[in-house]
């Protein structure tokens, strides 16, 4: 806590470090944090229970979390999870009696191109097979420390299959900063505007305008945040950019600092990418030594900027910029009401730019080659290139960078996808595109995307895809507003009911009503888009739904007679009235 200067804004980082070193956050640790950070206990507990990688109960010396994205499921993760539980003699979600291990699922870990994947004590294990799972069970039983596990398990490949302007760029660290310094901050912002570079997190707000707005906003100080909370299932480009182009990302942040006058920046790294922390710290250290960070960058008096890395703890909603800022401030990741937008009132109420990893990396190209050059790439409304993350049913999953305007058909051909039924573009909150529309193009004017391209061949059940996404939104709802907290749960129950063969047209109509409610009443985009996967599946693949409506009239989602079983057991009764009989048949 001394390292964090007893700053209550560092609460999340403190909790995360306690979790990391102790395996859980014990009551004594909470007592200590309450006293030292001078925070109310409720607040500390509120934060500790918000993030899914923080535990206020012991969760085993080995905490195994299988990535539960649809792409992991398609690669067989549910059976592997079962297998691990069986060989460890444990029940999913429960800690073994000796406190050794627990096994559960987690939202997409961003390793869709090399899944099925899991996290063990926060470290990713890729390319799971039955054999690897058996070996892991053995290592856990023998209490072998993670450091002694085969390094091959933890191998994470970049998997770059196609490079374009961004990934193919070749320049020395500092070159873009030097070019920007030569131009001057105001001219840099003008170049950014001329480049028409739009935010790469999915929403596509023009980066130059954002920088300008923050630059113009009055404040005691300005902040800059790199959003590396890549939680949208199917996305993994930030993982790769941070692994292979971290210099470009930090250099882009430094450009943003020059443009906006920020002296302090944060890189918000999602908890799932904790394994990149050492590498990123090393990059920052190297850049400080090279005078590319710190005071008087490149010898320019008064150009001071440094970056601190904040690690998240498993909360998709923190990818929303205002929730991310809340999280940076050490709070629960509840999205703020906007306006005011972060560019005027962001971190600690000061003007703040929040940009995506890829946006910052791309801004280096603008500084180096000029806005006009950059605007020449791509399409009219979408300049530049886009890094796509291709996963699912294709021969060569991985990272593909294309100029905007590339058709889905081309992406599918390059990645070796065959017999493709549908593509989910940009993850669960994006669009589901059927084969008839594969000529549509990756661009803000047609198919906007944060990067994910999940491919489903004709053997896949699109209903199950939508159901997986609905489960995801329920798990990730921040719980702040009732329509989303309850609505995502009800929607999940409805989809599960259909999956269990108990659906009727009545339930189908209820799903429609729930969609309307979520869209009109939710506080933020998570609730608004929670029904997207269902809506698009109903729209594009009505057959996948119709076949689930097995009953003409309403059926309960649970077995009424079984609901009396424990009362029968406790009373020893088995008479006629001790049962609920099927309605169509008479009781014996």
């Amino acid at each position: 806590m001394a390292r964090h200067r007893h700053d209550p804004h560092e609460l999340l980082q403190v909790l995360r470090e306690v979790q990391e070193s102790c395996g859980w956050i014990a009551p004594e640790a909470i007592d200590c944090i309450v006293a030292r950070l001078n925070l109310p206990r409720t607040k500390v507990l509120g934060v500790a229970t918000f993030y899914s990688f923080l535990h206020i109960n012991p969760c085993g010396r080995y905490r195994v979390l299988f990535s539960d994205n649809i792409t992991d499921r398609m690669l067989g993760s549910p059976a592997l999870l079962e297998r691990l539980c069986r060989s460890l003699w444990i029940e999913r979600g429960k800690v073994s009696e000796d406190g050794l291990v627990s096994v559960d699922t987690t939202s997409c870990t961003g390793l869709c191109d090399q899944g099925p994947a899991l996290l063990v004590n926060g470290r990713p294990v890729t390319r799971l097979t039955g054999r690897r799972v058996d070996e892991i069970a053995e290592l856990i039983r023998e209490s072998v420390p993670l450091e002694a596990w085969p390094a091959e398990y933890f191998r994470v490949d970049d998997n770059i299959q196609r490079r374009d302007a961004l990934l193919g760029a070749d320049y020395r660290p500092g070159e873009a900063i030097a070019a920007a310094l030569a131009r001057g901050p105001a001219a840099l912002v003008e170049e950014m505007k001329a480049s028409r570079l739009r935010g790469r997190g999915g929403a596509g707000f023009p980066a130059g305008l954002k920088w300008q707005a923050c630059r113009d906003a009055p404040g005691r100080t300005h902040y800059l945040v790199c959003n590396a909370d890549e939680g949208e299932p199917g996305n993994f480009k930030d993982r790769v950019l941070l692994a292979c182009a971290a210099d470009a990302v930090v250099e882009g942040m430094t450009l943003g600092a020059l443009a906006t006058g920020a002296w302090r920046g944060f890189l918000y790294l999602r908890g799932e990418y904790r394994f990149l922390l050492g590498h990123l710290e090393a990059v920052l250290e190297r850049r400080r030594a090279a005078r590319l960070l710190g005071e008087s960058i490149l010898g320019r008096e008064g150009f001071d900027f440094d970056v601190a890395i904040h690690v998240g703890a498993g909360a998709y909603v923190c990818g929303e910029e205002s929730a991310l800022i809340e999280s940076l401030e050490g709070k629960r990741g509840t999205p703020r009401s906007r306006p005011p937008y972060p560019v005027t009132e962001g971190y600690l109420g000061e003007p703040t730019v929040v940009n995506n990893v890829e946006t910052f990396a791309a801004s280096c190209l603008v500084a180096l080659k000029g806005g006009a050059w950059y605007a020449g790439l791509g399409t009219a409304q979408s300049s530049g290139t886009k890094v796509l993350c291709v996963s699912g049913d294709c021969a060569r999953p991985g990272i593909y960078e294309y100029p905007f305007g590339t058709s889905l058909r081309e992406v599918l051909a390059d990645s070796g996808a065959a017999r493709t039924q549908a593509v989910q573009v940009s993850g669960p909150s994006g669009a589901c595109v059927p084969a008839a529309e594969f000529d549509r193009r990756i661009a803000f004017e047609d198919l906007p995307t944060a990067g994910a391209v999940m491919v489903f061949d004709q053997g896949r059940d699109m209903f199950e895809v939508a159901r997986n996404f609905v489960h995801f939104f329920r798990h990730e709802s921040c719980g702040f507003c009732t329509p989303c907290r309850v609505g995502t749960s009800l929607l999940t129950n409805m989809m599960d009911k259909l999956a269990n063969g108990l659906g009727s047209p009545y339930d189908f109509a209820e799903i429609g009503k729930m969609n309307l409610l979520l869209q009109s009443m939710s506080h933020c985009g998570l609730g608004h888009s929670a029904c997207n996967p269902v809506l698009t599946t109903i729209d594009k693949f009505p057959g996948a739904f119709q076949s689930r409506l097995a009953h003409e009239d309403f059926e309960p989602a649970f077995d009424l007679d079984r609901a009396l079983a424990s009362a029968r057991q406790m009373t020893g009764r088995d008479d006629r009235a001790a049962h609920v009989w099927p309605q169509s048949t008479e009781a014996p």
Binding site: L560, S566, A567, H579
Partner: protein, 181 residues
């Protein structure tokens, strides 16, 4: 007096407290106007025990035992339109507070543990309906056509829905009738 045939209405309370029925009585002198248009079938008002074929069924309370399920299903079979009245019918309400606890544990605690029931046993008389594992709202077991929220819903809310049904139209409850703050 209207020449139209009277609407047959049945009412019952399942796992409820009859508070919603009290609210129905709170429509006061409008009861006379109502009685010109409706005839009550099974209801605490008539003390009729078996429900006949009806146009409208009003049900308060959720489902906590086997008998509740039986009555609700009978209402669904007999009534053209079924209305869930009040918080318990819609969400399970107060009785559903037991849902986080396991039923065997509850029975054990109530009937078998000290003090007071040292030699107690869990009632097993076939006359007594068996409790369900969890308390359920009505719409989880049968199709429900309309919902009147409130604990209890105000007399005005019930009146508005009833007169709407008499007129053959759905009348949404506006702010004053469903927001009690």
């Amino acid at each position: 007096m209207s020449a139209r045939p009277k609407l047959r209405v049945a009412t019952t309370s399942l796992a409820g407290c009859f508070g919603c029925h009290m609210s129905l009585l709170d429509i006061d002198e409008r009861l006379f106007a109502l009685l010109e248009r409706v005839e009550f079938d099974r209801s605490p008002i008539t003390d009729v025990k078996e429900v006949g074929n009806c146009d409208v069924g009003l049900i308060e309370g959720g489902l906590c035992n086997a008998e509740n399920v039986e009555v609700l299903r009978e209402f669904r079979r007999r009534c053209k339109v079924l209305v869930a009245v009040g918080a318990c019918a819609i969400n399970g309400g107060l009785p559903a507070q037991r849902n986080p606890l396991s039923l065997p544990l509850l029975l054990q605690e109530v009937y078998r543990s000290e003090p007071g029931a040292r030699f107690g046993r869990i009632p097993d008389d076939p006359e007594l309906p068996l409790p369900l594992n969890k308390v359920h709202p009505l719409h989880e077991v049968v199709r429900i056509d309309h919902f009147i929220p409130g604990c209890p819903p105000s007399a005005d809310a019930i009146w508005k829905v009833l007169t709407g049904l008499l007129a053959g139209e759905e009348r949404p409850l506006d702010h004053g009738l469903i927001h009690l703050d």
